[in-house]
């Protein structure tokens, strides 16, 4: 490599891509069934161990074989979100080569199968490698061409091959030695082929940085770990993309922690079972996406009126109905805020990133039990399935608070146990079934303080008011939104949930502009006192969200009484790319 090569990680060097930051985006594409995602995750692990931060992004259709799958990963010293353009494309088939040229930076490179793919351009650095042939010569099958390609890509990036070989040995531990050997040989064959035959200049090089104590995982994996650490005793879910991997992770690892994990017949049963389990005294959580949550709406009201705590993970995807099953969207906010007939309190927490997914899950569990109401964790496909590097999770930051639960001794001291006792903060102490002296009726009918169905006007008002007081109590306890950037700015970007990543990444490129960013994780109840002040005082607001109707923007109008001056909405199933936000801000200002 020549001197002008940019070493990613050397503070003196800059990338030529958008924004002038030290990062590089690599994209792998091929047919569904080629193992694109597995290969991508291996590559991520290699870079993690080299001391990099990263964020990955997958695109795949809703089928198992034959469609077009891609995996992209942005790596650098500091990465909040995946970025475009792509700097290195690994094309495992012709379609990948042809389809993604518009996504490439001017100085991009393409690794492709020289025997099966015909280059349709010579504008980029082309690294022609006989992927399939080298895989077979290494003792592997055609499927191992992705291993050859990754080996080749590491050579193009001037990285060492040893890290990748170590990852292969770990991931395939337990497989027959011949298969592991074939994989290692395939990786080496790709690497050596590039080193020997393709002495081209590629403007990016990746070298090891000081090692960080980081982990690399998806939002869903972080939520599953948060559920384990946060003491979930029963998790119920029915498979639905993009929430399924939480269920799968917990089904495998939950039992080691004493957690009951069950897949009932449908989402109706999921939430009703969870409510039954929670009423009996277990700390309980469910997971789904919008379609499954539609089925849960009925039981949501049951949780509301019986005041039974439950945490509901809703990982959004574009609807309505089946919609775009494997893509990303923030279109369910107002549905979640209003689902089910009648009026009752609920809380909505929308983690902004993978760290939030972990730490906010135990908080959601605490709030649900403290206020005896349904609490939502709302994410989306971009966050649920996007892998990110984060500092290693610290369980000493987690507290368990189950709220007011009366013991047998405490119940014995009462003149009478009343499950729905009228209280100032709206929370009536619970006692679990089986506690002597604490029999009661948890009732889906409007009820009196004991739980008997009662239809008087006076009682209705008392109980309805008692329940809604919990929302006021909750509003006093939930954290305020976080302001990034300067305290005062000409333009304040506002967003909620997973749009945090692309906006923070865009902010790096907007440092010469007078822009700050107000991010909401706690979305409902809304607004907290500081949020209201900040939203009212900002000079100019731009609300950025992944939906077409401006659902959070509508909440600002409704509950703060200010009409945001501007907005940026995206609803094509893709997350925001940071460069789109940069362009939008520059045009608006």
């Amino acid at each position: 490599m020549e001197n002008k090569t940019k070493k990613i990680g050397e503070t003196s060097s800059l990338r030529q891509g958008y924004g002038g930051h030290e990062n590089i985006t690599i994209k792998i594409g091929g047919e569904a069934g080629f193992g694109i995602k597995v290969a991508g995750a291996q590559l991520g692990k290699v870079f993690l161990r080299m001391g990099y931060e990263m964020f990955d992004y997958t695109e795949y259709p809703s089928l198992i074989r034959g469609g077009h799958n891609t995996f992209e990963i942005t790596i650098g010293e500091s990465v909040s979100h995946h970025r475009r353009p792509v700097n290195l494309l690994i094309a495992l088939n012709q379609q990948t080569f042809d389809e993604h040229l518009p996504e490439l930076s001017a100085d991009a490179g393409i690794v492709y199968d020289s025997e099966r793919t015909k280059p349709t351009t010579d504008k980029y650095d082309l690294f022609e490698v006989p992927l399939s042939k080298l895989a077979k010569e290494s003792g592997g099958s055609d499927l191992m061409k992705n291993t050859v390609a990754l080996g080749a890509a590491l050579a193009v990036l001037d990285a060492e091959i040893e890290g990748y070989i170590a990852v292969i040995k770990e991931i395939f531990a337990g497989k027959p030695p011949a298969i592991i050997m074939a994989d290692i040989n395939s990786a080496k064959a790709g690497y050596d082929y590039v080193k020997k035959n393709l002495k081209k200049k590629f403007p990016y090089a990746v070298e090891s940085l000081p090692k960080k104590d980081s982990i690399y995982l998806t939002g869903n994996e972080a939520i599953a770990l948060g559920a384990i650490a946060g003491g979930v005793q029963a998790y119920f879910a029915y498979p639905m993309t993009p929430s399924t991997s939480v269920l799968v992770y917990l089904a495998k690892h939950g039992p080691d922690h004493g957690m009951l994990v069950r897949q009932p017949e449908d989402e109706i049963s999921v939430l009703n079972s969870a409510i039954g389990a929670s009423w009996m005294g277990a700390r309980t959580m469910v997971g789904t996406s919008g379609g499954g949550f539609s089925l849960m709406s009925e039981a949501l009201g049951l949780s509301g009126i019986t005041e039974t705590p439950v945490v509901i993970l809703e990982a959004m995807r574009p609807g309505p109905a089946t919609g775009l099953p494997t893509w990303s969207d923030q279109g369910d906010l107002r549905f979640i805020q209003n689902a089910a007939q009648g009026e009752f309190p609920r809380m909505i927490i929308a983690p902004g990133d993978v760290e939030d997914c972990f730490y906010r899950t135990p908080e959601a569990l605490n709030f649900a039990e403290k206020f005896q109401m349904p609490v939502f964790i709302v994410s989306d496909k971009n966050l649920a399935e996007g892998g990110k590097t984060v500092p290693i999770f610290d369980t000493s930051k987690i507290k368990i608070d189950r709220g007011k639960i009366l013991s047998e001794q405490e119940v014995a001291k009462l003149e009478k146990f009343l499950r729905y006792r009228l209280t100032e903060d709206g929370v009536s102490p619970r006692a679990f079934p089986g506690t002597p002296g604490a029999v009661h009726a948890a009732n889906s009918d409007e009820h009196d303080e004991y739980g008997y169905a009662v239809e008087t006007a006076e009682n209705r008002i008392q109980q309805a008011d008692k329940r809604m007081r919990k929302l006021d109590s909750a509003l006093k306890e939930i954290p305020e939104p976080i302001l990034y950037g300067p305290k005062d700015a000409d333009l304040t970007l506002v967003s909620w949930g997973s749009t945090k990543g692309p906006i923070l990444e865009a902010m790096k490129d907007l440092q010469d502009q007078s822009v700050n960013f107000l991010h909401f994780v706690y979305v409902w109840p809304f607004p907290t006192p500081n949020a209201e002040k900040q939203l009212k005082q900002a000079k100019k607001l731009m609300v950025i969200e992944n939906n077409s109707t401006g659902q959070f923007e509508g909440m600002i109008r409704q509950y703060v009484g200010r009409a945001p001056e501007s907005h940026f909405r995206k609803y094509d199933g893709r997350p925001f790319w940071p460069h789109e936000i940069v362009e939008k801000v520059k045009t608006e200002k």
Binding site: L217, I268, G276, G281, L302, G451
Partner: protein, 295 residues
């Protein structure tokens, strides 16, 4: 154990009365099921705080306000999932699920089939009056063909659901039919259902004199017979199926139709071998062992 000082010792059926007297119509079969449930709980030796009763919605669901115990009045058709969740959270608690024919065979039919096949240890009592009564007289999945109601003025068209055959095909491990006109017999069936280690399905023939007067106590008495009187042994699924195919308009078998011992859902989970989830202390768990794969 602290006993409720207001309870008689030993317990009587009246100790399970709540402060609300039932609002059912005079002559309603629900009174008999109410009595039989209370009798069975007394015979089982349970105190109100030792039993949980999960109700659906309907005249049967209103039972929720008429009994003392840990009561959960759920949604129409959803008593079984709520009861299953409750039982999984506390596998030492006696849990009864109580609903009607609309509840269990229309709105909640999927849950009925799935919960039967799970063989979770619940006792499920269906108030089967072959009509929707709380909504004042519409057709039900068990209404006989030709049944005239407010929503089927020309007579019900569909073939009625056969609850016993359905439960048999779903793999039920305890399937019984009771009659609200015979409280001692029904009490015994419910007690046997509670004692059965697995899912107990008890379909109770219940007259509704207001909205289905044709199927009266007298109509039933002419047709009902007890299987045990015939020396029937409920250990053969094929024979049970034969019983289930008897013509409803001619003769109606009551008693245990099929029973077998099979592993329960809660018994199959290693996590539920020890103390119930609901009685465990919730504390922060270490995830150190889980993090290695993400490094």
């Amino acid at each position: 154990m602290i006993l409720n000082p207001n309870l008689t010792n030993p317990l009587k059926a009246n100790d399970f009365n709540s402060d609300v007297f039932p609002t059912w119509c005079p002559g309603c079969g629900d009174f008999a099921i109410w009595a039989a449930v209370k009798n069975a709980l007394v015979k089982k030796g349970l105190h109100p705080h030792e039993v949980s009763l999960v109700f659906g919605i309907g005249c049967s669901g209103n039972f929720a306000s008429f009994i003392k115990g840990n009561v959960f009045h759920s949604l129409h058709g959803r008593a079984l999932p709520a009861a299953a969740g409750a039982r999984l959270a506390n596998h030492e608690m006696t849990v009864l699920a109580i609903g009607g024919d609309g509840d269990g065979f229309a709105e909640g039919l999927n849950h009925t089939i799935q919960t039967i096949r799970s063989n979770i240890n619940l006792t499920y009592i269906v108030h089967d009056n072959h009509v929707y009564s709380l909504t004042t007289g519409q057709t039900s999945p068990t209404s006989v063909k030709g049944f005239k109601s407010k929503t089927t003025p020309e007579g019900a068209f569909e073939y009625p659901i056969n609850p016993v055959a359905l439960a048999l095909s779903a793999g039920g491990s305890f399937i019984a039919r009771g009659f609200a006109g015979d409280i001692p017999h029904l009490t015994d069936l419910i007690l046997k259902g509670i004692n059965h280690n697995g899912f107990s399905f008890i379909d109770v023939m219940q007259p509704c004199p207001t909205f289905n007067p044709h199927l009266s106590y007298d109509w039933y008495r002419e047709r009902v017979y007890k299987l045990e009187d015939k020396g029937y042994v409920p250990d053969n699924r094929y024979k049970a199926f034969e019983i289930s195919q008897e013509s409803f308009s001619e003769k109606i078998a009551t008693g245990i139709i099929y029973e077998e011992q099979r592993e329960t859902l809660e018994g199959h989970y290693p996590q539920l071998k020890g103390s119930p989830l609901a009685r465990q202390k919730v504390s922060v768990r270490s995830i150190d062992g889980n993090l290695a794969e993400f490094k």
